[in-house]
Symmetry: C2
Subunit: 189 residues, 2 copies
Amino acid sequence: MDCLFDPGKLISATLIDDTIRDDQPSVDDVGSKYRLRPLSSKDHARGYLDLLSQLTKTGNVTRLMFTTTFDSMRKDSGTYFIIVIEDTMKKCIVATGSLTIEKKFIHQCGHRGRIEDIVVHYDYRGKRFGKIIVQRLIALSRVLKCYKISLECKDSNVSWYSSMGFVREPGNSNFMQMRLIDDDEEPSP
Amino acid sequence: MDCLFDPGKLISATLIDDTIRDDQPSVDDVGSKYRLRPLSSKDHARGYLDLLSQLTKTGNVTRLMFTTTFDSMRKDSGTYFIIVIEDTMKKCIVATGSLTIEKKFIHQCGHRGRIEDIVVHYDYRGKRFGKIIVQRLIALSRVLKCYKISLECKDSNVSWYSSMGFVREPGNSNFMQMRLIDDDEEPSP
């Protein structure tokens, strides 16, 4: 499979993910109904963009646009780690999340991770897929030796992320933004 | 000069930076006392790391570590935009800030910008250098066609960033983090 990043990194992350429990769907096995894996260059045809449009505005992303961005992300080696859960029977992507690595000079030229774009398909909620995605990205950030990972979220999601170990540090937890193109936060129809 | 990114982008940003006023130091002229420019591969010797250590933990970053990270950032074309203000008489870096571009599939494969690591040297405060750096990074993010830029900050900095147009969106302004290596936020001695 044509992967966004070395699947070996995800295998290492799976090995150290101590949140995997017997009552969770077996998402990593190739033969299972659901499979967790890196984003593939073929996922445009598997509804990856439709899934993202349940989170925020995606617009019309053609196959060429998808491939160009995918190739560009892959070229930036060690930066983009997008994982997906595929329904292998229906051959469609039902959950996704991304870990983006920022190279720094601080922290002895360390790496900082950012968790972004977590979304589970409407029809597949209640299966703990969101938590599986985030926990695996946390494990992946350990494999990639990040000194810190972070995310921004709505008030309604604070307790959910807290349950996985994220904290709002007192006096240091403000997320500020400036929208330069006014088309954000309106999910596509 | 051996720059982290195409100086032409910064020249374009300077042209559209409508916050430049006559009472500000002329930081962009090559012949002036202070010069604003992209980070250079020679800035390790000009105190760039010492400056960063006034912001957070940097540790001992050797020239080789600096060069390796610099080259790696430059290779990820279109991602890392670190700017500095140099005191051209003393040949030392007195202020810096970074804009990091994250490639996305959402927003029609758009670009999102993040402003990070803003610091002005203790001896050079009160000259509006911090504001000049942030305003120029905002202008740069427009040149780079970001649909959104964002940052995380302490409570004490919210009003400062607000004055430049950043907002904490109601219900959507939580910054959460998880420290994986416990050495953060302790400025070097």
